[in-house]
């Protein structure tokens, strides 16, 4: 039996004293590729930010690998939504990917040969090695997303959390990202991914969490990905009964 690598118990999160997440219980199965789906304003990004401790919940518990501490976050590689970084920053593709290694570095210590090797192989995996000396501002949307996935790979974490990584990118990049995710799964990694396109859920993921403030259904795609469950989450604009 597989274990729960992330366990969320009775989570309540509020923005401006309005609940965005309500009594949410969920688990992330180890070695799964899990999609989070739900309508706009369902609290998907809020959920991810709570896991990353970017927001303080009102109540509830989040265990990562059985631990609640800040240190546990080191087991997670986080790929944020696009547009949250300073694109004018003078840095090359290789440099950005190397930033993934800083999780394993102390203060002042600089990346060594080993780190460079890891970064280069991550770039190769994302088919971006030819671009390693480009400035990030010169990349297309899809290429940028590849760089951020390469940075996440560099972190060498057990869990990957991504906020809509497939939003607004070209089809080649989309296929490449999915391929990479599947091959990382074979190496034992787990994925929690906010996903928008309901048509591709079945093809790309093996587990799914359907949410709207709280969980409506979660589990194996084959068991819970039914039109009944989807309708339930999407039709209720507000969850009042």
């Amino acid at each position: 039996m597989t274990e729960d690598i992330i366990k969320i118990k009775d989570l309540i999160v509020a923005y401006d004293e309005k609940p965005a997440i309500w009594h949410l219980n969920m688990t992330l199965q180890e070695n799964s590729i899990t999609a989070i789906v739900g309508p706009n304003g369902a609290g998907k990004s809020t959920l991810i930010k709570s896991i990353m401790q970017l927001i303080k919940p009102v109540s509830g518990e989040i265990h990562i690998n059985g631990s609640k501490s800040k240190k546990a976050l080191r087991d997670i590689a986080y790929v944020p939504q696009k547009g949250e970084v300073n694109w004018e920053f003078p840095t090359t593709v290789l440099d950005v990917v190397l930033m993934g290694r800083y999780v394993h570095k102390g203060w002042i210590k600089r990346p060594n040969k080993e780190d460079h090797k890891i970064a280069m192989s991550a770039l190769r995996e994302m088919k971006m090695e030819a671009f390693r000396n480009r400035q990030i501002s010169e990349l297309s949307g899809g290429q940028r997303q590849r760089v951020f996935l390469a940075r996440a790979i560099c972190q060498d974490a057990d869990i990957y959390i991504m906020d809509e990584p497939l939003q607004g990118i070209d089809i080649t990049t989309e296929k490449l990202i999915i391929e990479t995710i599947k091959s990382l799964q074979e190496q034992g990694k787990s994925f929690l991914i906010v996903h928008h396109n309901l048509d591709t859920v079945k093809e790309y993921f093996d587990h799914v969490v359907i949410m709207n403030k709280t969980i409506f259904a979660s589990g194996k795609i084959s068991e819970v990905w039914t039109s009944e469950n989807i309708d339930k989450a999407y039709s209720e604009v507000s969850a009042v009964r």
Partner: protein
């Protein structure tokens, strides 16, 4: 002395009517640049005319003001340097040239940088002019004219200014040049800044351009209302500045700028949806939310009887905070205490029901 007050009021009205559009276009710091670089224009024109009262000074300085705007735009168009950085570089470079020129050549002439920077409205009535048989301060005459010109400009091009401020793309589509409007505005800003600097000083003129506008902007949404409210604050600031400056013998433009900040901060803090009221509202909301959360927790079957310790642990609260919340809830009759445990009253039960509706939540 009353003439001094008039000069201040007219100066602040003439500047702030243009300032409305500068603030809305996010060009307030461009005024900062212009107000510094006109010094270069004054110096250059002074070298040519050798007369500090020459009208050429105004023209020369205004030209340099427009040139500053043009240079900043030109640099922006290359996409090499960010807008704010190019403002910072252009104005400091031109200002540096002005200072070097003054210290190199103007030591023996009477061009007092201090007066240019600080301005001294008290001297304004000394320099007089005859208009239709009336003797009045030259500054008052010039600023009065500019007030009419600027107001006329805003009235005449109100629609164009509005559209090019809020939706430049739309302005382009319906076929008038936002660039032309922009440079007309900036030319007037430069001329006004030059004429006003004599009275209020080159740096404080920025304050006259933007402070009344920003205060009005805090209070109203509509452009037309904003213009009238700006005029009100312009008069208020300069009158108070005048009174304070007069009574405790301070630089009047300095006092006006200080008053302007104080009034701005007062409005910022105390207006109906201002900082303090919002803070109080937030606190109350937070308290109410916490109350609702605790009551809802108690309405769940497994928490029917709950100790304050368990509540504290559940919400990550301190014991003292929890006790305070529970005390209020008990006083209001939502919960009752039996031994060490709390439980909901019927009233509390009802309250959770309404909270669920209020926060758009489904029953647990």
């Amino acid at each position: 002395m009353i003439e001094v007050l008039f000069v201040l009021i007219v100066a602040s009205l003439a500047t702030s009517v243009l300032g409305v559009f500068l603030v809305l276009k996010n060009q307030a710091m461009t005024t900062d640049a212009i107000s510094h670089t006109i010094l270069l224009g004054i110096v250059l024109a002074f070298f040519i005319t050798q007369d500090i009262r020459s009208p050429w000074l105004i023209i020369g300085a205004a030209l340099v003001g427009v040139l500053t705007v043009y240079l900043i735009q030109l640099i922006n168009q290359t996409n090499l340097i960010k807008n704010d950085a190019s403002i910072g570089i252009v104005f400091t470079a031109l200002f540096a040239i002005a200072i070097i020129l003054i210290s190199r050549y103007a030591d023996n002439v009477h061009l007092d940088i201090d007066v240019v920077i600080a301005g001294e409205v008290l001297f304004a009535p000394l320099n007089r002019i005859e208009i239709f048989g009336y003797s009045m301060p030259r500054a008052l005459w010039q600023l009065g004219l500019l007030l009419i010109v600027n107001t006329g400009f805003v009235a005449l091009f109100y629609k164009e200014l509005k559209v090019s401020t809020f939706d430049p793309k739309f302005a382009y589509v319906i076929g008038f040049s936002t660039t032309l409007i922009y440079y007309m505005l900036m030319t007037l800003v430069s001329v006004t800044a030059v004429v006003a600097f004599d009275a209020v000083g080159a740096i404080l003129v920025i304050n006259f351009f933007v402070a009344p506008v920003l205060t009005a902007y805090l209070l109203v949404k509509r452009l037309s209302h904003m213009i009238f409210l700006t005029a009100f604050f312009a008069i208020l600031n300069s009158t108070l500045g005048y009174l304070i400056g007069y009574n405790i013998d301070l630089s009047m433009s300095g006092a006006t700028a200080t008053v302007a900040l104080i009034i701005f901060i007062m409005v910022f803090l105390f207006k109906p949806d201002g900082y303090i009221i919002l803070k109080i509202k937030k606190r109350r909301q937070k308290k109410e939310f916490m109350h609702a959360m605790i009551l809802m927790l108690m309405s769940e079957d497994e928490h029917e009887m709950i100790s304050s310790k368990e509540i504290a642990k559940h919400f990550n609260l301190t014991r003292a905070e929890t006790e305070k919340q529970l005390e209020t809830l008990e006083m209001e009759g939502y919960i009752v205490k039996t031994d060490d445990h709390y439980m909901l009253t019927i009233r509390g039960e009802e309250f959770t029901h309404y909270s669920r509706i209020k926060y758009e939540l489904k029953p647990y």
